[in-house]
Amino acid sequence: MKQHPLCTDTEQASHVMDLAIPAQMKREWAELQTRRHFLGRTGKVLGWAAMASLLGGRALKGDAHGPAYGQPGADQLKLPHFAPKAKRAIYLFMSGGPSQVDLWDYKPNLAALYDKDIPDSVRGAQQLTGMTAGQARFPIAPSHWTFKRYGETGTFVSDLLPFTGSIADQLAIIKSTNTEAINHEPAIMLMNTGNMNAGKPCLGSWLAYGLGSMNDNLPTFMVLQTKLNTHENNQPVSSRLWSSGFLSSEYAGVGLRAAGDPVLYLTDPDGVDREVRRNMLDAVNEINRQTYQELGDPETNARISQYEMAYRMQTSVPELADLSKEPKSTWDLYGPDAKEPGTFAYNCLMARRLAERGVRFTQIYKRGWDMHDNVTVTLPIICGEVDRACYALVTDLKQRGLLDDTLVVWAGEFGRTVYSQGGLTPDNYGRDHHPRCYTTWMTGGGVRTGITYGETDEYSYNVVKDPVTVRDFNATILHCLGIDHNKLTYNFQGLDQKLTGPTPASVVQGLLA
């Protein structure tokens, strides 16, 4: 096997006899090469050879493997495991940790407890972040907003979310989601990849790997970033969150940019036409195929298919991003924000268009929910950006008949504390990270709608009924898409790795239609 072109460690180790060492040592070395030495080494070599053949072909080749070029993973993996209710999913990721206390988890009794300390018995041994660990008091900050009943189910939703409230009957609201992490990066990694440490594939990559593509002209997994709003505390999100980890990089999420061209360098430069581009790609692919023949690195195949995908996206993405044919009713539904690329409303509209075009998994990141202070000023701003768009997306999918086989998920990485971080005044307060309970919702294919699942205590601090861990949450999402979370595995580092990790997880039956 030839040296890899990128491998710089090509120097030959010099022989003992050429080294500048005393002649006596060289003689000793030569004498060591005895018959006994030879026989001993030969025995070991034979042993290793026997072991290699016993362990089978893959034993000494490392873990990097993937489906051969052009072989969709789904076909090999025998997926979906059972007939799915949803073919695709849209995940609205509320990065930063939305406040369940102010949006969903209605606790009218807290008003009477304004500025009283939350009982230690409720708080228990909960670890605190560095931001509130030094606080002398933990004064209860009741929500600044009132809640109203919505729909036939009479679900209470905050006045901050009137649009989403109006579709409460169509949602499965989960009040008992809970996580183990208390800081953004580990929590957001846990939600997306099932592990707090980087390096594992995210939900979208698992889906792309497991279910394969429905449209070869667009990526199977797409990520839409929402433009920053400078009023908010924007925790960064990074491509780690849509990384394919140890899976082939074909399954990583492909991002559309929030401003300017959705994909950079997508248009051919002047003087390069489609045919020239095609010829160039054919040549590059041929070279890559030769490299694959020689080195057998599956990432080479990933590279070939990514070049091909980019070529096809040169026509499919402009068509996708062309909103001129959207009827007036679309703009009436999503609101004026949707005309401006990069807004959450625009991304929701794009998510619907991606769903129509057979994209398996679309994840929209909306940052800015991390409100450690000034909640009463910033929360209405971000709710204003998100509320109508969520309503519009669900309504639009429903009226177009897409909600039957599309799963929609709304979730952040954790919730927020019922007590105030920093000063509590009648008009304002802050809220720290809270992992023990937070509210998420799902709707669409496979989900039992018009329900509220799980209950929290009267402080919105602990789950008292039907807890849903991040593992259970992800197992349920996979279930809706026809996947048994225990069976979608990938052997890496000696483990059958899976999204839900080694700790047992269960599909939340109460959430299923």
Partner: protein, 469 residues
């Protein structure tokens, strides 16, 4: 002569009989000596008591062994000798289990008719075993022929009855019959278990489940009342039944949920949200009309019926076509993919890669796959009304996507034979109300999407709550 046989012969035997009589009396008075008051008592009692369900199986097994040994003893006398010993052990086991059972009931605060019956059964059974033990020597000596066999049979019958009561306590009253074939259930007259489609199962039980069972369920049994099954609901709590069939005004359950919410006895307690007016109306009507576990409809209560989705019908064997399906998968263009790993779930036809060039002619090429396709994704393709001639052969089709196509709806009636079609999407086409009318005759076709078509004007875009912002 007769008296001779019956009178105890020695002082020892007389003593034994006196002791037996005293023990029987004591056992019979036990329920009055140790009254079950429905309150939990010492933990150690519960700790020991919980071994009762384990310990009972020993005397049960031994008692069952006795008649077998006696019968087998006719052939091998040694076995009959063993029967006496086994019977003695069984009696000792009965006494032990009885004691543990009492600890369980008293310590754990269990009350109720089934508990009482189970307890009475246990006492009768123990006394029966003792009498058998005393009567057996006569029989063995062939002095009195029939008393022992009769006693043994009675004891065994008592045992079956008692163990059944015990099983009911542990597993619930419908444990045995839950999965009984329907025919057998009807034949045996056991239809009392709530049927899955009954009003109780579909509407009453879910209300109780989400509002009451947290405190009146398996985990917590406030006031001795459990509402997590029909039998328990009808049994009531420590103050008696809570449902009086036909008499809502006498049913405590209904009274308690309709009190003013600030009253002490109002349910659900502890500030939990009150039942909705609609739910109260259902409960009232259900009690009024007999609190039946099986009735599926109530007069005066109209429910939005959710009909179950048509289950997947297996398609035929298409393994001969697999090579072709795989070949399609390799290249660009339309593809057939399995709905799931089970081939019999059928195929999905995806055309989105090449939607602009996929027309009626291309669709016609899929004719040989027609009976295996369950989902045809033809949205935004170039198919026209002529496609219905091909599509009508897709006998197992469940979902048909035609959104954004040139379909005008003429010929939609040709789809009528597709008995499994549950979903059709005609959004963004030019279909008219008249053209889609034939679809309403298709029984399983429940999801018809006509958004943005002349058949359905676009709905109001804003929710009613817009003014709240």
């Amino acid at each position: 002569m007769f008296a001779d046989r019956w009178l105890p012969k020695s002082k020892l035997t007389r003593m034994t009989w006196m002791a037996a009589l005293a023990l029987s009396l004591l056992l019979m008075l036990l329920p009055w000596i140790v009254r079950l008051d429905g309150k939990p008592h010492a933990d150690w009692q519960q700790f020991l008591g919980r071994f009762h369900p384990l310990a009972v199986h020993l005397p049960i097994g031994l008692l069952l062994l006795v008649p077998l040994l006696e019968l087998a003893g006719a052939l091998r006398p040694a076995l009959r000798e063993a029967a006496g010993f086994v019977l003695g052990l069984a009696f000792a086991g009965c006494l032990g289990s009885l004691a543990l059972g009492f600890l369980l009931a008293y310590g754990g605060g269990s009350v109720g008719t089934v508990v009482s019956r189970h307890m009475a059964g246990g006492i009768v059974l123990t006394i029966g075993a003792m009498l058998c033990l005393l009567a057996r020597p006569w029989w063995a000596q062939k002095a009195v022929a029939h008393v022992y066999p009769a006693l043994l049979i009675c004891t065994l019958l008592a045992m079956f009855w008692t163990t059944h009561q015990g099983g009911t306590l542990t597993h619930g009253s419908n444990y045995l019959t839950q999965y009984m074939p329907d025919g057998l259930k009807r034949w045996s007259g056991l239809e009392q278990t709530p049927a899955a489609g009954s009003f109780y199962a579909k509407h009453i039980n879910p209300i109780l489940d989400s509002n009451c069972v947290a405190c009146h369920g398996e985990g917590k049994v406030k006031g001795g009342l459990r509402l997590d099954s029909y039998a328990l609901l009808m049994r009531g709590g420590q103050d008696g039944p809570v449902i009086v069939a036909g008499q809502p005004e006498k049913s405590v359950l209904l009274t308690r949920v309709t009190l003013p919410p600030d009253q002490k006895h109002f349910m659900p307690a502890e500030g939990k949200p009150p039942l909705k007016a609609e739910e109260i109306a259902w409960i009232q009507a259900w009690i009024q009309q007999g609190a039946s576990p099986t009735a599926t409809t109530l007069t005066g209560i109209a429910m939005r019926e959710e009909t179950a989705e048509l289950p997947l019908q297996p398609v035929g064997d298409y393994s001969a076509l697999m090579a072709e399906i795989r070949q399609m998968d390799q290249g660009q263009g339309p593809k057939l993919k399995q709905l799931s790993s089970k081939p019999e779930d059928g195929l999905i036809l995806f055309t989105v890669d090449s939607s602009a060039s996929f027309g009626d002619a291309q669709l016609a090429q899929f004719q040989k796959f027609a009976p295996y396709i369950v989902d045809a994704e033809l949205g935004r393709t170039a198919v026209t009304n002529a496609s219905f001639d091909t599509l009508k052969q897709f006998t197992h089709l469940r979902a048909l996507h035609l959104e954004g196509t040139e379909i005008t709806g003429e010929g939609l009636a040709k789809l009528a034979p597709l008995s499994q079609l549950t979903y059709i999407n005609l959004s963004g086409t030019q279909v008219t109300a008249g053209a889609v009318a034939p679809l309403s005759a298709m029984k399983n076709l429940r999801h018809i999407y006509l958004y943005n078509t002349p058949a359905q004007p676009p709905p109001a875009a804003q929710p009613a709550t817009k003014s709240a912002l």
